[in-house]
Symmetry: C2
Subunit: 292 residues, 2 copies
DNA sequence: ACAGTTATCTGACTAAAGTCAGTAAATGGT
DNA sequence: ACCATTTACTGACTTTAGTCAGATAACTGT
């Protein structure tokens, strides 16, 4: 443990020095750093102010003022969202896009400066190690928390979950027939967990009680961009922990045959296939695991 | 090239997000971030104000004020350097040391928080990849520049070089007999290169002309803490480049038998062993390489 | 319809981080 | 001995990066 901590601190120090300094010098050259950063986060596709605030962890007043400043400079346009009149959608203007390209070019130059003095072999090793570090850093940054199934993040995950299974099930999927209610996933009857990466929801999982001592896992979903980080395992372990605390001694779940990774995943985490225990028309496989 | 740049940018982004945010939140909790950072840089051993300014790239007025603030809080003591009355040496007071330990503890906590959610296997891979990235990031951060042999950085390198060979040569080493003058390494008669990592001198190498079309490499030295980064190769390549530009077509050098890495290094970079070409009493091996 | 929530905005303020010009002392080179 | 440099310090100032307490409008659930 001590060695690991020392390693991380050395890494932290070197990386902060190299990237931190250059980042700020490159990106914040002729405008405040946070403004560049904001332009960068808005990106070519534009974004909700709300989402930006979440991603950057910024005070709403401060954000508002920054947006006003960028607007005055003609770099962005702000208009209300068509779906929700409270939220604003920010887009880069033609000028803002040009500015973003400039920032991108600087950012590229920074990246190239990091390669300039390395040999070919060093570069290859560098790339591989960076991928690895990035993946694991993302994995270690994922935070799992209880959430109300009606909350925005939970609904976002569920919506994406349902649209994904609708696309993947050979028969499609109709949400009205799914037979699970939000209320099932609110303590003490059950619970819902959301996994977030840098503030954005990347996965969910829910638990409900079927009867005394019997629980059921529902709605396990991981966003495609966050797969391979071990989030599924962490969600499941956490749900099982919660279940155990509520005196659940066996957990069941069902799955559609088209979800091959899910089948493999449950088998590898200790779930045994059992006979049909419900009348879910979309289920082909039923599993159970005893909690000890 | 495009792939590499994209990789680096993704890495850059994830790392900045994870480390940057946490760093500032952890370290800057109850005092300004730069003050914590300064305490951290002063470290248990203390430091020259000059060196601190270089390392942190700080305005001297700003630095002065920060030091005054830390002094008022009783965290540091400042006194003139015994060697040079202009420079000040900063040391942490008892209280400052306690504060540093507190910062260290927070820093450790940050490191641990990065490991908390990883499995054992993930942690191992993480450590290996971080070492690799750190090494290569350091390698890529080394900057090589021409320097006056009388400059502070060059003298620092040469002093350490001579004291190292004095320790390693079985017969010791006396600088007065070395027979090379500073003036030899000033253009156009020769040149001296210094390699710097984050502003601090980490290695040097010099070239002088022996006769028409004939050059000689002298004083190649790499700081122990920066070995294995490929600095030697880069210095040598750069010296050869300079030599070629000055119509040198062959380069010679001599070496003491105790410098085994040096012998291996020169052999592997294209130098062939030749007969004695000078009367250097410390030399056991003589090399030459033709420049094409 | 209405109470409670959410998203954004405004004004008033503060702390942090830095810049710049000029001064004074010590040092190094000639 | 003297001049140019280097190092640190001071004062005056600016910009950057926030925080906090409301106000307002749009939405949500009942």
């Amino acid at each position: 443990m001590v060695t690991e901590v020392r390693r991380i601190r050395a890494f932290n120090r070197t990386v902060t020095r190299r990237l931190g300094v250059l980042n700020e010098k490159y990106l914040g050259r002729d405008r405040p750093y946070v403004e560049s950063r904001l332009l960068f986060e808005i990106g070519t596709k534009g974004a909700d102010v709300r989402a930006l605030r979440g991603r950057l962890g910024m005070d709403s007043g401060f954000m508002s003022r920054l947006l006003r400043s960028l607007e005055r400079k003609g770099l962005i346009t702000i208009r209300p969202s068509p779906e929700d009149g409270r939220v604003r959608v920010v887009r880069l203007s033609r000028q803002g896009l040009a500015e973003l390209r400039r920032i991108d070019a600087l950012s590229d130059r920074l990246a190239q400066s990091m390669l300039a003095s390395l040999t070919r072999v060093q570069t290859q090793r560098f790339m591989a190690a960076m991928s690895e570090v990035e993946t694991l850093l993302r994995a270690s940054s994922v935070e799992i928390a209880m959430a109300d199934p009606a909350s925005r993040d939970a609904r976002h995950c569920l919506d994406r979950y349902f649209s994904e299974i609708d696309a993947r099930f050979s028969s499609g999927f109709s949400r009205s027939q799914s037979g699970s209610e939000h209320a099932d996933f609110i303590p003490p009857r059950g619970c819902m967990l959301v996994a977030r990466l840098f503030g954005e929801p990347m996965g969910c999982g829910a638990l409900r009680t079927l009867g005394t001592g019997l629980g059921e896992i529902k709605h396990m979903w991981i966003s495609p961009e966050a797969r391979g980080l071990g989030i599924g395992r962490r969600l499941l372990a956490e749900l099982e922990r919660v279940a155990k605390k509520h005196r659940v001694c066996a957990i069941r779940l069902d799955t559609n045959a088209s979800l091959i990774e899910a089948l493999r995943f449950y088998r590898s985490t200790g779930y045994r296939e059992i006979g049909r225990y419900n009348d879910n028309p979309y289920a082909h496989h039923w599993f159970e695991k005893a909690l000890k």
